[in-house]
């Protein structure tokens, strides 16, 4: 199965999501709702995406976009699965039960963005100290110890 056949397969399985599936630079991009993320991830794993490359997030103001990078050795292709969660209550189902690699990746996203992963076995800060206040990669993060770069530098 290559990436084009994968698109046809996914269009049969997710007819409502088919317009949202695109192929960019040889990699697929699939947008799903946050409530369907875990089911879609399980389906993709069954299709042969046996490796979770990374989990990251983007701050878009009103909501956060979560980006999962899946890879398949069989198809020699990768796919990005994206979903959005509201800023007021950023919660998402953990995919730690599908790929153990998600454990530390999701902890990092929690550390930097404050997104809570339901079902994560050990959700605590990974890079910053345990008593850290705030989530540094949010656009509205403020810390009095930060020295802003002057305009002339």
């Amino acid at each position: 199965m290559d990436i084009v056949e994968l698109r046809e397969h996914l269009c049969g399985q997710y007819p409502d999501l088919c317009p949202l599936f695109s192929i960019e630079f040889g990699d697929g991009v699939l947008l799903v709702g946050s409530d369907r993320l875990h089911a879609a991830a399980r389906d993709l794993k069954d299709l042969g995406f046996d490796r979770l490359g990374m989990v990251t997030a983007v701050d878009f103001g009103e909501e956060f976009e979560l980006v999962y990078r899946l890879q398949s050795r069989e198809m020699r292709a990768g796919i990005f699965v994206k979903t959005r969660v509201p800023r007021e209550e950023p919660r998402i189902d953990s995919v730690n039960d599908l790929w153990a690699a998600a454990n530390w990746q999701e902890r990092e996203v929690y550390d930097m963005f404050g997104i809570v992963f339901d079902g994560h076995p050990d959700l605590r800060r990974i890079l910053l100290t345990d008593d850290w206040v705030g989530y540094p990669l949010r656009k509205d993060y403020e810390n009095p110890t930060i020295i802003r770069r002057p305009d002339y530098l």
């Binding site: 890079l127 910053l128 100290t129 008593d131 540094p136 993060y141 810390n143 110890t145 930060i146 020295i147 802003r148 770069r149 530098l153």
Partner: protein, 196 residues
């Protein structure tokens, strides 16, 4: 060190003891200056230059500067790299584990002032001298091993000007406490026996 301190105190109050003390100083400083074993506190790219300094092209063994992984074996801590707020208590603990007399070299711009992480950063300590008494600063991003060699030679000059006498010995106090550091405050006495 207690025995050496007592000896130096006794000599200082003995008639003619100053002559003997000066002679002992010369021997002790010669021994210390030519065996500055390094604690390689390498946390970033400066550590690559620090590693290169130990290998055959630069060969710091000929100066007597041997990198040792155990702080209890070492005399000089070379802080080579960026120190984050999470790393700083660990660095300070390793510094506390080094036996006196001890010296510190801040290698590279990050260890001097935070370097490129000075502005717009929430996680980096702006200079290792905020919590360690630094003797030698080496500028560069990263510095070449020749700069480190120069620092070792300058540190040797500094070491050879020191005395074993407690009244004249270099002050190693004045290490600023970090907030939340277990080595400071009430738990200092307890942790000295077990952890340090």
């Amino acid at each position: 060190m207690a025995g050496v301190d007592d000896l130096a105190k006794a000599l200082e109050h003995t008639p003619g003891g100053g002559v003997i003390l000066t002679s002992i100083d010369a021997i002790a400083d010669w021994a210390r200056g030519y065996s500055l074993w390094m604690m390689p506190m390498g946390t970033a790219c400066c550590a690559m230059e620090l590693i290169a300094a130990s290998f055959s092209k630069f060969d710091f063994d000929r100066h007597g500067s041997i990198p040792r992984p155990d702080p209890r074996h070492t005399d000089v801590m070379v802080v080579a790299g960026t120190i984050t707020h999470k790393m700083a208590p660990a660095v300070k603990r390793l510094w506390a584990q080094m036996p006196d007399p001890k010296w510190c070299i801040a290698m590279g711009n990050c260890a001097i002032s935070g370097g490129i992480f000075y502005y717009d950063t929430y996680s980096v300590v702006r200079g290792v001298d905020e919590f360690l008494p630094v003797d030698i600063y080496i500028a560069g991003c990263p510095p070449r091993p020749e700069s480190l060699q120069d620092a070792i030679l300058r540190l040797r000059e500094k070491v050879r000007a020191e005395s074993i006498s407690p009244s004249r010995v270099r002050a190693v106090e004045g290490v600023l406490p970090l907030p939340g550091d277990p080595l400071r405050g009430e738990s200092a006495a307890a942790s000295e026996g077990s952890d340090v």
